[in-house]
């Protein structure tokens, strides 16, 4: 390994990635959508939009609204269901040499377990990301993402049904993030990812109604970056399993901040919408940073915050 090509590879709790930059669930479709613009083989991993056991319609529009340096979304997890995904998208995805992580969700513990089981039986999927934190489906966030015992139950149930690496995606809980991270580790998670979008509201002052069809939604984008970074740093101090950091990453400098705070990998979400090649430019910029700082591997940077 020469100094000019630092080693970007990471092993994320069993997910072997060429580089630590992935695309975040719900912001990159199921793969084909951006394939004309982004060479999927270059991505560290591709996390697909949240999948449930059965197809799900999602929320009425408007589903997103742009706010200062951010986006509020309330898509409501529209998806073709596990069978639809396996039939319509998996064959496409298998053409590429990229780890495919499926983001899953359910309305009950049983649904979580069932979708995990069904997807684990398919060939060509690398890991499961457990979305217990989506602010846009009533059942999700209230029941699992902010209730520690429920969080443990759903995790334990899914763990029994899959041998794939399991990555719970934490809700951005400001006061209990360590507790959730530790619970994830104790229940056998292979990694954790954070943060999901933050519950938010926008009001149309002319109609006096919420702007979004679902009333509230989740805030993402650069606006939440400093909050996400703080939570990743806290979580990293609480667990030994690797962390996928996300929230407002738009540049290599942003990604480096998350890695220094303790993330082993990062995910690009909202930034894909304005610049679909963000993951690639982040990757290139990260490589340059490592070279400039004389680091042979990205692992040396993980958690390198000096306090």
């Amino acid at each position: 390994m020469s100094l000019n090509s630092p080693d970007l590879s990471v092993n994320l709790g069993g997910v072997r990635m060429k580089n630590p930059v992935m695309v975040a669930s719900g912001t990159f479709g199921y793969g084909p959508e951006y394939a004309d613009l982004v060479d999927l083989n270059r991505l560290g991993a591709l996390v697909v939009k949240g999948i449930s056991l059965e197809p799900w319609r999602g929320n009425p529009p408007p589903r997103t609204v742009e706010v200062a340096s951010g986006l509020i979304n309330a898509i409501g997890l529209q998806n073709p269901g596990a069978e639809g995904f396996l039939r319509d998208y998996l064959p496409f995805l298998r053409q590429f040499d990229v780890p495919v992580i499926v983001n899953i969700w359910g309305r009950t513990v049983e649904e979580y377990a069932a979708v995990a089981e069904r997807l684990s039986a398919a060939d060509g999927l690398t890991a499961l990301e457990l979305n217990v934190s989506c602010p846009n489906v009533k059942e999700g966030r209230t029941a699992f993402g902010t209730n520690l015992p429920m969080f443990r139950r759903v995790l334990a149930a899914v763990r029994l049904k899959t041998r794939l690496p399991l990555i719970p995606k934490l809700a951005p809980d400001l006061s209990q993030i360590k507790a959730f991270a530790q619970a994830a580790e104790e229940e056998g998670a292979d990694a954790i990812s954070l943060i999901n979008s933050i519950p938010a509201l926008a009001i149309d002052i002319e109609t006096r109604r919420p702007v979004l069809g679902n009333r509230t939604g989740g805030l993402s984008g650069p606006a939440i970056k400093p909050i996400a970074l703080k939570l990743v740093w806290e979580a990293a101090q609480a667990v030994r399993i690797p962390i996928v950091g996300m929230g407002g990453i738009a540049s290599a400098a942003d990604a480096v901040e998350f890695i220094i705070a303790g993330a082993s990998a990062v995910a690009i979400g909202t930034a894909n919408f304005s610049e679909p090649t963000t993951a690639l430019t982040v990757m290139d910029g990260l490589r340059e940073y490592l070279i400039r700082h004389n680091l042979g591997t990205v692992k040396e940077l993980v958690g390198a915050l000096r306090c």
Binding site: G26, T27, F28, G29, E33, Y34, D36, L37, K49, R57, G58, P61, P62, R63, T64, V65, E66, A68, S69, G70, L71, N73, I75, Q78, G221, P222, T270, A271, N272, F273, S274, E275, P276, T277
Partner: protein, 264 residues
Amino acid sequence: MQLETVLILEHRDYGAGYRLLKVAAPGIAPQVQPGQFVHVRVPRLNDAVLRRPFSVFQAQADTLSILYKTVGRGTAALAALAAGQTVGLIGPLGHGFPLDGPAERVPVLVAGGYGMAALYLVAQRLPRQGMVFVGGCSAQDILGIEDFTALGWPAHIATEDGTRGVRGLVTDVLDAWLGEGRQSRTPEFFACGPNGMLQAVGDRAQAGGWTAWLSVDRHMGCGVGACLTCVVKCKAPDGDWVWVRSCKEGPVFECRQIQWEEES
């Protein structure tokens, strides 16, 4: 579909409150089909996280142009750009208007607002000649009639205040034309404008047993089908309904696909 950083060749007022932005887009321009759009990254709008979608007005060889109106902060920032500067585009995007309808159908274009921009390429590229119906509040809202008459397409104009053409809605003029039995041949509608207008055109098409292609306008996130922001309620094969992406399966839908009920 591709990403392209394009040079601004021309940027000027075009009438009816619209501005024309013409760019050199050698990658995108030759691929454009009528009714498709480009997703524009507005420079300097540094707290914006989304691009802005605009129909392609004209596309010729390596250049394309859009016609837009300043309605908010993105279009205001766009308006501040000058020839010689660059802007980022993704395009061409979406499913546009199909031009391969049977030769015996008379193309009938119906436009409101920026609809004229979305429909120009239909008139220019259709092998058959048709006519265009345009509506607006007032004479100063009527955009680009000359572009159509230059192609030899007659234009029927309606304004709500009667300052240009017939006083009333565009559908009034359309109804008059339909009612007068002038359609010696079967009309095929191509429409772009406010939802109410689109629905009215669709209603007439369904009543007459004709085809109507409607270009809908929905707020967009990614523009490429990834985010599920831009959905339209469509009929499902099984009689049920489903949310369909207007950036990918649309923005042009046949009127029978759309389920207008319950839509705002």
